[in-house]
């Protein structure tokens, strides 16, 4: 009986830890919609860029680090420019907001 109780408590603790860990992991991925106010990219061969977005809900400026080739290419040929509205997901890594998803909201 006592052993069974211990097992149940251990199982409950495990579930709790997993849930908390999951919560922490989810909290690391941030989502926002914002207008591009600045794009910093160093030339056509750049492998990274910084885009500053103005959060449409809070007005806060968020600097996003963009490393994926598709989005970098859109910066280089100006398919994404200052003024475009962006839907963005990012993760905080080493103090940087690293983009995981960076797309214009507009279409035709």
């Amino acid at each position: 009986m006592r052993k069974a109780l211990k097992v149940k408590v251990a199982a409950a603790m495990t579930v709790l830890i997993l849930l908390l860990a999951g919560g922490v992991a989810m909290a690391e991925e941030m989502k926002m919609v914002g207008d591009v106010v600045k794009i910093e990219i160093s030339g056509p061969d750049a492998k990274t860029a910084k885009a500053t977005l103005k959060d449409t809900k809070t007005g806060e400026l968020v600097v996003i680090t963009v490393n994926d080739d598709l989005t970098l290419d859109k910066f280089k040929d100006h398919r994404i420019v200052v003024g475009d509205e962006i839907r963005c997901k990012y993760e905080v890594k080493d103090g940087k907001n690293v983009s995981k998803y960076f797309r214009k909201t507009a279409g035709c």
Binding site: V33, G34, D35, T56, K57, L70, D73, D77, H78, R79, V81, E85, R103, K104, T105, A106, G107, C108
Partner: protein
Amino acid sequence: MRKGSGLAVFVAAMLLAGVAVAKEHPGREDIERKGYQGPSTCGAQGCHPGTAKEFLDTVHWKHASPVPNVEGLEPGKEYGMKNRIYTMCNGNDIVNNLKEIFNPATGKTKFSGCNSCHPGNHISDVGSVGKEAENAIDCLICHASKYDFRLRIAYEDKTGRVVMGQDRSKEAALSVGRPDVKNCMVCHESAGGGVLIKRGFAYTKETDVHAKNGMVCVDCHASTNHRIPTGFDPNNWASDGLRVSCEDCHQGMPHKDGDLNRHVARIACQTCHIPRTGGAIAKDFTRWTQGADKFYEPTTLKKEANETTPVYAWYNKTVRNGPHFIGPKGSREEKGSRIYPFKIFEGKAFFDKKTGNLLAMDFAPPMATGDALAGVASAAKTLGIQEYEPVPGWQTIYFGSTHLVTKEKALTCFHCHSRNGVLNFRALGYTEKEEEKLTNASIYFDKLAEQQKEEW
């Protein structure tokens, strides 16, 4: 796919890519000296004579063509995004023509319209003909790798006409070549109201085996005189009369396994090799949602590429077309039919109570104020429809699912032949007894057990 043929395709693609990179455009010197003036430069010195005129007769310019495989259409009339309406795009080039839209809440304006992707300058618009139209073609948007998209914006000229700008710089012209994936996706990825909304596929090395092997769109959609072959998507009606299919490359018996090859007669390649789909699953044109910029968009449920599952149906490459359903025709009994996967989409819009037909919408009024019925009224005025009674209703659309091709994650025996398999055999016309047999592990047990032994 046979290993040998796959390798051959890969090598061919690599060679072609190599040629594209290494080969210099023969007109380079001339462009460097004289600059680029548009299609007349391409046609000068006998380089591409008649090409501009030829392009005016393609779907990319006309946004329409004869459509022989869809029921309920007027004979002799051409159809396409020029004049079609359905509930993914409730407007079209005619009723939702590119224009400047004023937002009373902010005093700001923006340009929007279905024909914003048309490769002309809007003065010469969808389906226009003649010398002026020829000179208006934006060759470089499809052929230049260094196109500056800051120049491809709509503006009003001195006389108040809405003009679509183009990059006709020397730098862009010097980068011409065979269209790359980017050139196609500039327009094709944002159709239907945003990135990957309409078709819901991303053509990247992570999401498609052809992209992973270095192939570009025009390797399969290889044009002949600017006529670009397409598949038989039940919802993509216009075509240049040329067709593309998996079998163009993967002919005969594409698998090493005879059992899989036997399936090919009744199961389309896509059914096993495109197990996922994505993009918008539903959209409501009767209810527009205000965005951060205070403009409104139709309320849309969006999913990522590979985030949704397809629906499977028999398809004989002809299309049932009614106000509330656009989708495949075909049946188990019909020998020309095969089972295909489809991206399923549901759209809500206004229908005319008097005729039962779907009503078109000009997006300008609802985009500015959220008033969807004002959009219907504006479109009706453009089309000369005086009497109608708008009632909201739903339409189901089956989109062809022909990208997001996978080899590693392709469906295999148990994905279909099991109780919880992806195919609904009863809905596909099989009897209860047949279904019982077709969803039993005895069909493949010995074979998979043997494979399992080899794998481990």
